[in-house]
């Protein structure tokens, strides 16, 4: 398997993410059924689909929150199927959560600092960081990048919903991510916050690929170059935003009551 | 069963061979070499039977504990106190009325009532706060231990076995053959066998009630999914109180059993609390068959340990727990998550 990966990367076509026949069962229910997915390095992709289509389950399998029942997952050519989540994160994978999973008892800066610390050395350090600590600086920069400098020292519990969503994104950008999974980052945001989010997503460096799950087609289609539509745990359609938007089957699926 | 054999062919074979070997150990006349190596057959048989009957007692205590945990996620660390309290009450009733059976009934009812009080006054007020529940039950066990010491003092009590269960029964198992050629049969106290039978009956009845009756299946579903239980229209609080009462009552019954074939004294509460903890950790939290398996394993390991390696009997029990935690943290028959 390694040789294949080496060959692929040598040819410059290594996929950032590759799912091979991935299935996930919950009892008799199959949330994912033989999903095959390839995302190029640096590619920005959206996954659309109604609730229960298996989008978040797919994310959970990729990050290792739970293991797939069948199939293999490769990250930049490396088989990570059985790796614990933290090993995948350290290889440059990141994700945000649909429901904000933040540390409410800590400040904004501490949250981001933890995220930076998690993918660097010194996770077990017993020494407090100095004021000129490099990690501390990158944490401050990240806070600024998501427009949270004003509330830097507030506890997360005191933030507004929109600010918490922005902090989610900051956590995913910490370290040097190679690939990010965004799980409905725009859900519940105001129009202004939404455009700020789009700005952030558009400003990500070109080599940093991502997958975004988004119900709002307007947001999704403005920041991605390819789209995958999922339905009932399977890949339903793949294509460019324009193709997907004009696809009669997709439209039928969306308008025909697939929502909900 | 068939599925297990299909999935674990090697293990099935090992278990089968072990079972056959055990059967041979029990039924056959031991060859000289084995006697020289492992001691007399009678000692072995005694340890085996004592282990199984002790397992029965442990099951009575632990099944209530695991039942309560399984349904309500309540960790009742005062469970050992319920055992000892029930035992003392049983002793007092038995000496006053001279009726062994009555002592069971009174102990069951008294502990069931206490259990209801615990559920209503403590656990219901702190639903979802596991740590606080645990701390409160620790506090209650401290208080109860002292109250019991106050009332019954520090003496050892033993509940007298009733006449109709007194004495030993001859089992159809040969322990040795005399030089004259006569076979010597195994003798074993009748009361222990009766109690073992009773705990098996209770265990099977609990299992049937949970698995084969409609309400039992709903309760079991409730273990997995709280919301579903309330959605089925069952009055969930009533179910909780009744299950708690039943589990606590079982602890009281176990106290009378323990008082009959062991003894009652301060400290037995902690001993049986710990035994239940280890039993359910080994067997799997919230699982009745798990409690049975765990109780059997721990009972056997204690008895065989104390016969064949007296100093390290505890270590053996502990080792079982460590191995289970290391390889199957959810317990032998426990479900994940």
């Amino acid at each position: 398997m390694v040789t294949v990966a080496e060959r692929l990367s040598a040819a410059g076509t290594a996929h950032a993410l590759e799912l091979l026949d991935v299935s996930r069962f919950f009892g008799a229910l199959s949330a994912l059924a033989e999903v095959n997915l390839q995302v190029r390095s640096g590619e920005k992709r959206a996954i659309l689909g109604s609730n229960g289509a298996g989008k978040t389950t797919l994310f959970n399998c990729v990050t290792g929150d739970f293991l797939p029942s069948l199939g293999r997952i490769r990250f930049f050519g490396e088989d990570v199927t059985n790796y614990p989540p933290h090993e995948r994160i350290r290889r440059g994978l990141r994700r945000t959560y649909q429901i904000s999973l933040l540390f409410h008892g800590l400040t904004v800066l501490d949250n981001v600092y933890l995220a930076c610390r998690g993918v660097s050395r010194g996770r077990f350090s017993l020494l407090r960081p100095r004021r000129d600590d490099a990690l501390f600086h990158s944490a401050e920069e990240l806070v600024e990048a998501v427009h949270l400098t004003a509330v830097r020292d507030s506890l997360v519990a005191e933030l507004s919903y929109g600010q918490q969503r922005q902090l989610e994104i900051a956590l995913a950008l910490a370290g040097a991510p190679r690939f990010i999974l965004f799980d409905e980052p725009a859900a519940g945001l105001s129009p202004t916050e939404r455009s700020e989010l789009i700005e952030i997503l558009q400003s990500l460096p070109g080599h940093m690929g991502f997958i975004i799950i988004e119900h709002d087609m307007d947001v999704a289609l403005r920041v991605v170059e390819s789209v995958t539509v999922m339905h009932n745990g399977r890949i339903f359609k793949e294509g460019s935003p324009e193709e997907i938007e004009s696809d009669p089957q997709v439209q039928e699926l969306y308008l025909g009551g697939g929502h909900g | 069963m068939q599925r297990f054999i299909e999935r674990h062919p090697v293990w099935s074979l090992v278990i089968l061979i072990a079972a056959v070997f055990l059967l041979w150990l029990i039924l056959a006349e031991w060859p000289r070499g084995l006697v020289a190596f492992a001691g007399r057959k009678k000692v072995f048989l005694n340890a085996l039977l004592n282990g199984i009957t002790l397992g029965g007692l442990y099951f009575l205590v632990a099944s209530g504990f695991t039942l309560i945990f399984g349904l309500m996620r309540n960790v009742n660390l005062a469970h050992g106190s319920l055992y000892l309290f029930g035992g003392y009450i049983g002793y007092t009733v038995a000496t006053a009325s001279n009726s062994w059976i009555l002592s069971f009934i009174v102990a069951f009812i008294a502990m069931a009532v206490l259990g209801m009080l615990l559920q209503v006054l403590v656990f219901r007020r702190m639903e979802g706060e596991e740590l606080r529940q645990t701390l409160v039950t620790i506090g209650i066990s401290i208080v109860l231990a002292d109250i019991l010491l106050w009332i019954w003092g520090g003496d050892f009590y033993q509940i007298e076995t009733p006449d109709w269960l007194f004495g030993a029964i001859k089992l159809p198992i040969i322990t040795a053959v005399k030089s004259s050629g006569d076979a010597v049969y195994m003798k074993y106290p009748l009361v222990r066998l009766v109690i073992l039978a009773a705990s098996i009956v209770i265990g099977v009845a609990m299992w049937l009630a949970l698995n084969k009756t409609k309400i039992g299946m709903m309760i079991r579903a409730g273990v997995d999914d709280r919301d579903m239980l309330s959605a089925t229209g069952i009055r969930i609080q009533l179910v909780f109180v009744l299950v708690f009462a039943f589990g606590a009552g079982l602890a009281g019954v176990a106290g009378v059993v323990g008082g009959t074939f062991q003894s009652l004294a301060p400290g037995e509460d902690t001993r049986f609390l710990l035994a239940s903890l280890v039993v359910v950790i080994v067997g799997g939290m919230g699982s009745i068959p798990g409690a049975a398996l765990g109780a059997l394993l721990i009972g056997l390991s204690e008895q065989f340990g104390s016969v064949y390696m007296p100093t390290y009997a505890v270590v053996l029990t502990f080792l079982i727990m460590v191995l289970v935690l290391a390889f199957r943290p959810q317990g032998l028959l426990g479900s994940r998550g």
């Binding site: 990141r94 800590l106 400040t107 800066l109 830097r152 506890l155 | 506090g139 106050w150 959810q330």
Partner: protein, 361 residues
């Protein structure tokens, strides 16, 4: 790191304001009452008798340290470990076995400067292994598993005569004479325990805002998210057990020196539960809580018998008193005495604010 090198996050205002004088931040941030207490403790031997220094304060510091190790795991890590007293007992046993005691046949009589590190290492290893077992499950299981481990240690030491000398344990264990000071005398022992209590308090406070401690609190709040940030949650939890075990081990050695003996009962089930009671009564939120709890416990333990007799009650009902006290705390103030204090302070503050605004209007 503004947020990280502070005790609490509320004082960020003080951070952004220009720094006065050249005092280090930690001195500025410490409440004056702390300095008063420090002075009081430093000069206590000048006016307190030997009994108070050795028995009351020494014991308070030691129990406080063991409870502190529990507080570290429970308060920061969300893991209520009942094995801390057992770790302390293990260290005490090692001092007896490798050092000098009345049991000549067992004790190896090594010099103290070998015995102490060896005892600390073994006890820490024991605590770490216990932790490694306990972290295989979560939440409420931790209490049960650590309680079972503690019980196994107790029964084992009671039954084993070859190494642990069974029921009677070891007697006549003394703190060594170093630099010509008899450390078992009341005043030197007082300073010895004070030193280690303050040290462990300071270290826990410091580490709680260092990456290791911060990550531990993150794991307490949200283990899944910590995994998704690249933290190895299991390894981190085990490391926390190791850290806490070291504190408990130091306290265990001091405890053995203070008692002059160690026996199975030292780390019996009762003692294990007592440590939990101390930590909970004091408060699991902050490192000072365990010491407050320990002080209350020691006072009760020492004087309750007299008080009970004085009031005309049976002095034997001491446990009942402790039990009811504990129940009352758990029922009414889950954050212990510290929680009560915080609430009282908050109410005072609210009152003064409302009266101030009343004046201005």
């Amino acid at each position: 790191m503004a947020a990280i090198d502070q005790e609490t996050s509320q004082s960020s205002v003080a951070q952004t304001s220009p720094r006065r004088a050249q005092l280090p931040a930690w001195i500025e941030n410490t409440h004056p009452a702390f300095w008063l207490l420090a002075l009081f403790l430093l000069f206590l031997p000048a006016f307190a008798n030997d009994f108070f220094q050795f028995q009351i304060m020494g014991w308070t510091f030691i129990l406080g340290m063991i409870a502190l190790s529990l507080m570290f795991l429970a308060g920061y890590g969300g893991m209520v470990s009942l094995v801390q007293m057992t770790v302390a007992g293990c260290a005490g046993y090692m001092v007896a076995i490798f050092g000098t005691s009345a049991a000549d046949a067992i004790s190896l009589q090594w010099p103290w400067w070998i015995v102490v590190p060896v005892a600390l290492a073994i006890a820490t290893a024991f605590g770490t292994i216990s932790g490694a077992l306990a972290v295989r499950t979560e939440g409420i299981y931790t209490i049960m598993i650590t309680l079972a481990i503690a019980a196994a240690f107790f029964y084992f030491t009671r039954q084993n005569y070859v190494i642990f000398n069974g029921f009677s344990g070891f007697n006549q264990i003394r703190a060594p004479v170093v630099f010509g000071i008899k450390w078992n005398d009341a005043t030197p022992f007082y300073y010895l325990t004070l030193f280690f209590a303050v040290l462990s308090y300071a270290v826990v406070t410091y580490v709680s805002r260092a990456p290791f401690g911060l990550a531990l609190q993150g794991i307490r709040d949200n283990p899944r998210r910590m995994e998704a940030l690249g933290f190895n949650v299991t390894a981190h939890r085990i490391a926390a057990y190791a850290f806490a075990a070291l504190i408990a081990a130091v306290a265990g050695i001091l405890l053995t020196w203070q008692n002059g003996q160690i026996s199975p009962g030292t780390a019996g089930i009762g003692a294990v539960i007592d440590i939990l009671v101390i930590a909970v009564v004091g408060g699991l939120r902050r490192p000072i809580g365990p010491f407050i709890g320990a002080f209350i416990y020691v006072l009760l333990r020492t004087f309750a018998l007299d008080i009970l007799t004085e009031v005309g009650l049976d002095p034997k009902r001491f446990k009942l008193l402790i039990g009811f006290g504990f129940l009352a705390i758990v029922f009414f103030s889950p954050d212990g005495v510290l929680g009560l204090w915080d609430r009282w302070r908050a109410r005072q503050k609210a009152r003064s604010i409302s009266s101030a605004s009343g004046d201005s209007s």
